[in-house]
C-alpha cells in the first residue's frame, strides 16, 4: 500500500536503509533530494502525501475484502447494471498530475488499482509519472510477478513493490483472495522482486483478532528474518468488505500491533517513521487519484475532496486539510476505527452507483464532527 519507510531523516537510519538511500541518490538524485526534503516540510507543518494512482480497476482476482471492487466495471455493469460514462484520466492527465505534484514537493506515486500487472499501458503510466521525478511504487497481488516481470519493472524505473499476502497459511490466503495458487505466486514474487533489486514490503490485511494469532506472529517473524517490512492494513468496511463488518478491528488489535512494532519489522500507516508522527495519514500522508480524476483522502474513503479535471491539486489538498475529519492530526484510523465516521460513510455510500461521492456529497466545507 504505502511506503512510510522511505526517506524522512537521516539521523536514525539503519545501515541497510542508508545504503538504499545512497543507491537512490546515485541513480536518481532529484528524487532522493525531494524525499530528503519531506522531513523538513513536515517539520514546517507542510504536507507531502504519497499519490496512489488508480488508473484502471481491471483485476484478475476477486478478493473477499476488496475496497476497489465497487469501482470496477465488472461490479458496475453486472451487479449495478450501470455503465460508467464519467471522463477517465489518460496519460496526459498523469503527466500533468506528475508536474503539479512535483511543484508542490510531492515525491511518491503508488500505482495501484485493480491489479497494475494486468494493465496494458503500465509502462506508459510509469513513464508519464516520470521515475526521474518521483519515487514509483507498485501494489500487486503478485500473480504475474515473475523474474522477468520484476527485472522489467526495475528497468522502467519502479523502485518498490508492495506485495499483498493476507495469511501466512497458504490455504487461508488463497481462500481470502479467492484464488487457488495465489500464496505460491506471492512466494515466487518475493524472490523475484528481491533478486531484481527492487525494494519490497509485504502488505497484509488485519481483521479483528488476527494480531494475537500464531499465524500473524509467524508472518511478522518471517518478514523480520527476511529484512522485508510488513505493512499492516486494518480491514476497512468499504467495497466488498462492507459485507464484512465483523472484520473491523478493535482498539486492542491496534494496540497489540503497536507493541509488536518494537520487536518485529511490522508497521501500519500510523506507525511513527524516522521522526514523522502523523497519526492517521488522510491527506497528510496519502491521497488516491481515481480513474475519474477524483481525489480521495485515503484509499478506503469513498468521499472525494475534489476532481482534478476541475480543481487544482493544491486546492484539493487544502480542502482536505481544513476538513475536521481529516484535519491536522488524529491518532486512529478514521475509516478503520472511528464508529461514527464508519456509520456516516456506510450510510452515504449505500446505494451509490458511482464512487467516490463527489465533493459536496460526501465531504464538504460544511462538515462538522458533532452533527
Amino acid at each position: 500500500m504505502l511506503n512510510l519507510a522511505v526517506e524522512q531523516s537521516d539521523s536514525v537510519l539503519s545501515a541497510d536503509e542508508l545504503a538504499k538511500r545512497e543507491g537512490l541518490r546515485a541513480r536518481k538524485p532529484y528524487v532522493a533530494e525531494k524525499l530528503a526534503n519531506i522531513h523538513a516540510m513536515e517539520g514546517r507543518g507542510e504536507i507531502s502525501p504519497i499519490i496512489r494512482l488508480e488508473k484502471s480497476y481491471l483485476c484478475n482476482f476477486q478478493c473477499t475484502h476488496c475496497s476497489a471492487e465497487y469501482y470496477m466495471d465488472r461490479h458496475m455493469e453486472k451487479v449495478l447494471h450501470v455503465k460508467d460514462e464519467r471522463k477517465k484520466i489518460d496519460l496526459d492527465d498523469i503527466r500533468k498530475l506528475s508536474k503539479e505534484a512535483d511543484e508542490l514537493g510531492l515525491a511518491r506515486f503508488v500505482i495501484t488499482g485493480g491489479e497494475p500487472l494486468v494493465m496494458r499501458d503500465l509502462d506508459e503510466v510509469v513513464a508519464a509519472i516520470d521515475p526521474e521525478k518521483h519515487y514509483v511504487i507498485l501494489d500487486t497481488n503478485g500473480w504475474f510477478l515473475d523474474d522477468e516481470k520484476a527485472k522489467h519493472l526495475k528497468e522502467i524505473g519502479v523502485e518498490k513493490i508492495q506485495l499483498s499476502l493476507d495469511s501466512f497459511i497458504e490455504e487461508d490466503h488463497d481462500n481470502f483472495r479467492n484464488k487457488k495458487g495465489s500464496y505460491k505466486r506471492v512466494m515466487r514474487a518475493i524472490d523475484a522482486a528481491l533478486d531484481a533489486g527492487l525494494n519490497l514490503i509485504l502488505s497484509t490485511v488485519l481483521v479483528k483478532g488476527r494480531a494475537k494469532t500464531e499465524e500473524f506472529l509467524e508472518m511478522c517473524q518471517y518478514c523480520t528474518d527476511k529484512n522485508v517490512g510488513l505493512y499492516v492494513s486494518y480491514a476497512k468496511p468499504t467495497g466488498s468488505c462492507t459485507e464484512h463488518p465483523e472484520f473491523v478491528i478493535e482498539k486492542e488489535d491496534a494496540d497489540v500491533l503497536r507493541q509488536l512494532e518494537k520487536d518485529y519489522n511490522v508497521f501500519t500507516h500510523m506507525t511513527p517513521s524516522y521522526g514523522s508522527h502523523k497519526g492517521c495519514i488522510t491527506v497528510k500522508g496519502i491521497i488516491t487519484v481515481t480513474s475519474t480524476g477524483e481525489v480521495t483522502p485515503c484509499p478506503y474513503i469513498d468521499f472525494s475532496i475534489g476532481n482534478l479535471f476541475e480543481t487544482s491539486l493544491k486546492e484539493v489538498l487544502d480542502r482536505g486539510m481544513r476538513n475536521p475529519w481529516l484535519g491536522p492530526h488524529r491518532p486512529d484510523c478514521l475509516i478503520g476505527e472511528d464508529p461514527k465516521f464508519i456509520k456516516i460513510h456506510t450510510e452515504k455510500t449505500a446505494g451509490a452507483t458511482h464512487l467516490p461521492l463527489p465533493w459536496g456529497e460526501g465531504f464538504s466545507d460544511n462538515d462538522s464532527l458533532t452533527d
Partner: protein
C-alpha cells in the same frame, strides 16, 4: 472581567466562550481521559521518588492540601463542574530553573519515565523530541504559568492538573485564560510532568483513544511549535509538533490550580 456564565460543561470541559482563536464549540467526546481514581499514597510515593519532597511535605499534608484545593473549587458554582472531569494532583519541588527546557530534559522527563516504567513494566515512555530542549522553552505570555514557577521558587508546590481544554488550538487555550478565574493557570512542562509522575496512567485507555496534551503554558523558540505528551497505544510519549494555531478534535491543553 471575570465571567458569570458557565465555565465548564457537565463533563468538566472548559467551555470555549468568547475566544477568537480556533476551538470546537461542541464536542462529540471521542478522545477522552477515563477519570482515574486518586490513590494519594501511591501518587505521593512516586512524587517523592522523583523529587525527594518528603522532608518538606508529608503524604497527609499533600492529601489535605489537594483536598482544600478541590473544596475551594467545589465551593464556587462556576468552577465546580471542572471536578466532573479527569484530574491529577501533583507536587513540585522547591526549585528555580534558569532553563525550562534543560530542566525538562534533566529532571522532569526522566521522572516521568521512571514513574511510568515502574507503573507499567511492560510498556515504555519515549521522548521523541528530535532536538535538545535546552534553551527552547519559556513561559507563554498570557498563560499565567509564571504563577507556578514563582511559587516553586518559594516552596514545595501542591496543585491539581485538569486536562479540560479539549479541542482547543494552542492560541485558543492561551486566549481562554484571560477570562478564567485568576486561580487557574495554563499547564506547562513541570506541572504536567508532575501530574504524569503522580498518575502515570493518565492517558492509558484500552477501549478508546485519549487526547494529546499540549504544554500550552510554554512557548518554543520555533514559531507554531509546541511540545506535548501523547499516548501511543499503551506507551506514553513526549514530542514536539507544529500546530500552526489550528484546532484538532484530538488536541487538548490543561489547566492547573495550585494551593
Amino acid at each position: 472581567m471575570p465571567e458569570t456564565s458557565p465555565l465548564f460543561d457537565e463533563f468538566g470541559r472548559c467551555l470555549p466562550t468568547g475566544i477568537n482563536a480556533p476551538a470546537h464549540q461542541k464536542t462529540r467526546r471521542y478522545f477522552l481521559i477515563d477519570k482515574p481514581d486518586i490513590n494519594y499514597s501511591a501518587s505521593y510515593e512516586r512524587l517523592n521518588q522523583a523529587f525527594s519532597i518528603s522532608d518538606a511535605i508529608s503524604q497527609e499534608q499533600y492529601e489535605s492540601r489537594v483536598t482544600s484545593i478541590l473544596a475551594e473549587i467545589a465551593d464556587n458554582k462556576l468552577m465546580k463542574p471542572i471536578l466532573n472531569g479527569a484530574m491529577a494532583p501533583f507536587i513540585l519541588p522547591k526549585a528555580v530553573y534558569d532553563d525550562i527546557g534543560q530542566a525538562m530534559e534533566s529532571t522532569f522527563l526522566p521522572a516521568v519515565q521512571s514513574a511510568f516504567n515502574s507503573f507499567f513494566p511492560d510498556y515504555d515512555f519515549k521522548n521523541h523530541s528530535p532536538r535538545s530542549l535546552n534553551g527552547q522553552l519559556s513561559v507563554a505570555p498570557g498563560s499565567r504559568h509564571q504563577q507556578v514557577l514563582d511559587q516553586m521558587a518559594n516552596e514545595v508546590v501542591v496543585g491539581v492538573y485538569f486536562p479540560c481544554l479539549s479541542e482547543y488550538s494552542v492560541p485558543a487555550a492561551i486566549e481562554r485564560m484571560a477570562t478564567l478565574p485568576e486561580q487557574f493557570s495554563l499547564a506547562g512542562g513541570f506541572d504536567t510532568s508532575a501530574a504524569f509522575v503522580s498518575m502515570p496512567d493518565l492517558l492509558f485507555r484500552k477501549e478508546g483513544y485519549p487526547p494529546l496534551l499540549w504544554l500550552s503554558g510554554l512557548v518554543s523558540t520555533e514559531q507554531n511549535v509546541a511540545y506535548h505528551f501523547e499516548a501511543y497505544g499503551y506507551d506514553l510519549t513526549f514530542n514536539r509538533r507544529v500546530h500552526l494555531g489550528q484546532v484538532a478534535e484530538y488536541w487538548s491543553s490543561g489547566l492547573v490550580m495550585i494551593g
